[in-house]
């Protein structure tokens, strides 16, 4: 026993190297699935761990509504500093619940409102809005997926580049990228150590759609040009959060990637190169972390179950 019970809370740190390497080295589709899976497993384990700490640490505190049996001395012996950990776990768990619920609620609200805004238009897949602000979005909506694009953006693109733009947005919709994004977003809320995975997945989903678009229009350069033009024409609104950020942002990296040859779909790099070894080591490390994270969570559930007459 011992500190292992806290492992699921900090093991997400071990996913940082694979997040970094996967977005650069793997096919964006593979990277998206891998990183989303890892983030989801680790977030669930971390939350389960938090919930169990709370139960174990606080069930015997006076005035607690939980039955005393839920906090058997044997169980508490498995948790170091059980009372402190338990007390800390309460606000932490509450915070996780509140922000995750808030995220889900906002997600639904934006989608509903955006669909409502388009209600008066003919039900075509592509909605072109007369607006001088250039933007384009994929708006998922079950049976009514829509691509929203403004005239300002379309007017700066040539026909082939427009096709690239539509292919990109359609790729988001057909591969249901918003689900991956929602999972990593919830994961990042559940455990802040998972934030780099969210950043990585929002990049890899864009790359994934770029690759699909390149396949659909048959030219990587056209997609690169479409992204570049769209970014340059909408540069008027820099996000304050990005100010002073030294590393190249996602858009130049996407364009640079499109100017390179297409990544192979099954391109786990060979183990016998430096990059390959790093990627494999990071992937194996992350898998082990995720498993031990799950192991810790399951062990705690078992201990609790064995020691308490539930």
């Amino acid at each position: 026993m011992g500190v292992f019970v806290f492992l699921p809370l900090v093991l997400p740190l071990t996913a940082w190297p694979i997040a970094r390497l996967a977005e650069q080295r793997l096919h964006p589709g593979t990277a998206t699935r891998l990183l989303t899976g890892v983030a989801g497993v680790m977030a669930v384990c971390s939350t389960v761990c938090l919930a169990l700490l709370m139960v174990v640490g606080t069930a015997q505190l006076p005035g607690n509504p939980l039955p005393d049996g839920w906090s058997d001395p044997e169980v508490r012996a498995a948790v170091p500093y059980d009372e402190i950990a338990g007390r800390v776990a309460i606000p932490a768990l509450l915070a996780v619940a509140v922000v995750c619920a808030g995220t889900l609620w906002r997600h639904g609200r934006v989608r509903r409102r955006a669909h409502r805004a388009l209600a008066g238009l003919p039900g075509t897949e592509v909605a072109v809005l007369p607006d001088e602000t250039p933007y384009a979005y994929a708006l998922p909506g079950g049976a009514r997926d829509r691509v929203v694009v403004t005239t300002a953006l379309l007017s700066c693109l040539e026909p082939a580049e427009r096709r690239a733009l539509f292919a990109h947005e359609r790729a988001h919709l057909t591969a249901r990228h918003h689900r991956f994004l929602l999972v990593v977003q919830l994961a990042a809320r559940a455990n802040p150590f998972l934030r780099p995975l969210r950043t990585a997945v929002s990049y890899t989903t864009e790359r994934w759609a770029d690759e699909e678009a390149a396949h659909a229009v048959g030219s990587r350069r056209v997609v690169a040009r479409a992204i570049g033009k769209a970014a340059l024409v909408s540069r008027g609104t820099p996000r304050p959060t990005l100010a002073g950020f030294a590393a190249p942002g996602p858009v130049p990296r996407r364009v640079a990637a499109l100017l390179e040859p297409a990544p192979a779909v099954r391109n786990w790099p060979s183990l016998f190169t430096t990059v390959g070894m790093a990627t494999w080591a990071a992937a194996v490390g992350t898998a082990l972390s995720a498993m031990s994270s799950a192991n810790s969570a399951v062990t705690m559930v078992l201990i609790l179950h064995a020691a308490t007459p539930l």
Binding site: R106, H107, V110, R111, R113, A114, R116, A117, L118, A119, G120, L121, A127, V128, L129, P130, D131, Y135, A136, Y137, A138, L139, L153, L165, H168, E169, H172, H178, L181, Q185, S202, T205, E206, A209, R221, A224, R225, I227, G228, K229, A230, A231, L232, S234, R235, T237, P238, R239, L242, A243, F245, A246, P248, G249, P250, V251, P252, V255, A256, L259
Partner: protein, 129 residues
Amino acid sequence: MTDHRRRPRRRGQGELEVQVLSALREAEGPATAGWVQDRLGGDLAYTTVITILTRLLAKGAVTRERAGRSFAWTPASDEAGLAARKMRKVLDGEPDREAVLASFVTALSPDDERLLRELLGQPETERED
């Protein structure tokens, strides 16, 4: 709560705006609220039509001018223009919208911009070797 017939009307607030705007666009020249009400059929109250028109006025989708004791209304944008305004309101009101809607591009820092211009400005022959 027993009156279930009211519920679809509440849901369709935005759709009503679209209907009123479409009716107004079918008019030849400025039209009164009464004309719009007739045009849309009997189930809308006169005050509802006025409310919707006022809301459209606030959104800049219609204009009005005084004609005798009432107003004559003229459409200032089409349905797509109204949708564009509403969409902007949704997007502007959501600071974290990137989290929900996958945007085609994100904002560029000045360094990104320079880098991007370099990448795109490169002649094709240079990269294809």
